[in-house]
């Protein structure tokens, strides 16, 4: 669903984990060019088994390939692309998202956690559109969509839209606005699992705009 919302010809960075799956569901007839912050524009599909190259990996340190027309570059140039606003869309995972688009996705803030931020703060600061792909709640059933994040922030007011297993919702200055719901669910159903008010912003066709 997130893949369907990304315009043709976009330059896209995919976060580690679930967001990497977006590359598999690009609609037919649409072309996205994938960027990985460790220095490759034009990430291709994973290599066939046995063809992995330890020097050709993505930000998740998984083996990838390069498409014809790809380019390699160093880390400062790669983050110049990110910070300079040249990447159109970034799809990230989340621990928490606030109703105004604050994102927490790098640390639970617990004292014995090993803090590790990677490129997330640069991505949310520099990429034009930040999409979040996440389960609607934690494994314990706690809401991830909140009025205010309680974990340390990755960025302030950066998330445009959240795609969960229950709904698609925009983070806006006036709070969360639902754009689509999973089949069979009512807004009240989704509201129950959401830690902030959820306005109804579904178009009459019921499709995400």
């Amino acid at each position: 669903m997130a893949a369907a919302d990304i315009p043709d010809g976009s330059y896209v960075n995919l976060g580690i984990g679930i967001p990497e799956l977006v590359a598999r569901s690009v609609p037919a007839g649409r072309q996205l060019i994938f960027h990985t912050e460790n220095g490759l524009l034009g990430v291709g599909p994973p290599p066939a088994e046995g063809n992995e190259d330890p020097e050709l990996i993505n930000a998740g340190k998984k083996p990838v390939t390069a498409i014809p027309g790809a380019a390699y570059f160093h880390h400062a140039d790669s983050f110049a692309m990110i910070r300079g606003g040249h990447i159109d869309v970034c799809v990230l995972g989340a621990m928490q998202v606030s109703e105004t688009g604050d994102l927490a996705n790098w640390s639970t803030g617990e004292p014995d956690a090993i803090p590790a931020v990677g490129g997330a703060m640069d991505l949310v600061a520099g990429v034009k559109t930040i999409l979040v792909l996440t389960e609607h709640t934690t494994r314990d059933g706690e809401p991830k969509l909140l009025r205010t994040c309680t974990f340390p922030l990755t960025g302030v007011g950066v998330v445009s839209r959240v795609y969960t297993n229950l709904a698609v919702a925009d983070a806006t200055p006036r709070g969360f606005v639902a754009r689509a719901l999973a089949p069979g669910l009512s807004l009240a159903d989704v509201q129950r699992w959401t830690g902030a008010p959820l306005a109804d912003g579904r178009s009459t066709t019921g499709r995400a705009p």
Partner: protein, 236 residues
């Protein structure tokens, strides 16, 4: 398929409007996108701000753009060169504004504009008139001046090879400002000698990744500015 190739220099610059800020690549004639500049003269946009290392020579290319009265202001490190007469005359008559910038600061401000860095400290120019009125701060016992990023609506750049995605290579010292100007402009327009499909350029050899480039037009045999100047050519 993503394809940034356009059919002509005229098409490549067709939306450059009056008042636009335009970065123009080149160090002297090396890397100067002369066909794109001539197309911009034909296009007729006025009141331009031009960011470029020099101001052109003779009556072709950048000098011709200035001679045609299209440039209100230049941001530049070295606005006089051998055979540079158009800018000096216009500047003395008050017909054009100049922001003089040390060459390395010019390059770094353009790179910063492309890299999302709004401002940085540099040692260049500290204690000189070019640092007057600017914030100066000490780091490690040495003084540095705060300089701000430069961005542009358009960049006109000459490359050697290009592909449909906008990946570029350059030729020798004609590389100069091209790569950073592509980064710092909302719309980078590139003329290249040799343009091909994706895969045309080894990914290890790409100097400017395509994400920084909006349009590519092939000019297989660009005019040589110094020859035109020697021949006394005048554009248009």
């Amino acid at each position: 398929m993503i394809d940034k190739r356009v059919g002509s220099p005229a098409a490549a610059v067709a939306d450059i409007r009056d008042g636009a800020t335009v970065m123009i690549g080149g160090f002297g004639e090396a890397g100067s996108p002369i066909e794109l500049i001539h197309a911009l003269i034909d296009r007729g946009a006025r009141g331009l701000t031009v960011i470029s290392n020099n101001t052109g020579s003779g009556r072709v290319g950048l000098a011709a753009l200035i001679a045609a009265g299209r440039v209100a202001r230049v941001v530049c490190s070295y606005p006089r060169t051998a055979n540079s007469t158009v800018f000096p005359a216009l500047y003395r008559s008050g017909g054009i504004a100049l922001e003089l910038v040390p060459q390395g600061t010019l390059a770094e401000r353009i790179r910063a504009g492309g890299a999302g860095i709004p401002a940085f400290f540099t040692p260049s120019g500290v204690g000189t008139v070019l640092a007057e009125g600017k914030e100066v701060r000490e780091f490690g016992g040495r003084r540095y001046v705060l300089e701000h990023a430069l961005r542009a609506d358009f960049a006109l750049v000459r490359a050697d090879r290009a592909d449909a995605y906008g990946n570029l290579t350059f030729s020798k010292t004609a590389r100069n400002f091209g790569p950073i100007m592509c980064m710092a402009a909302a719309c980078a327009v590139v003329q290249a000698r040799d343009v091909g499909d994706p895969g045309h350029i080894d990914p290890e050899a790409v100097v400017t990744p395509g994400v920084f480039v909006r349009r590519v037009v092939q000019v297989a045999r660009p005019a040589q500015e110094s020859r035109l100047v020697r021949e006394g050519a005048v554009y248009p």
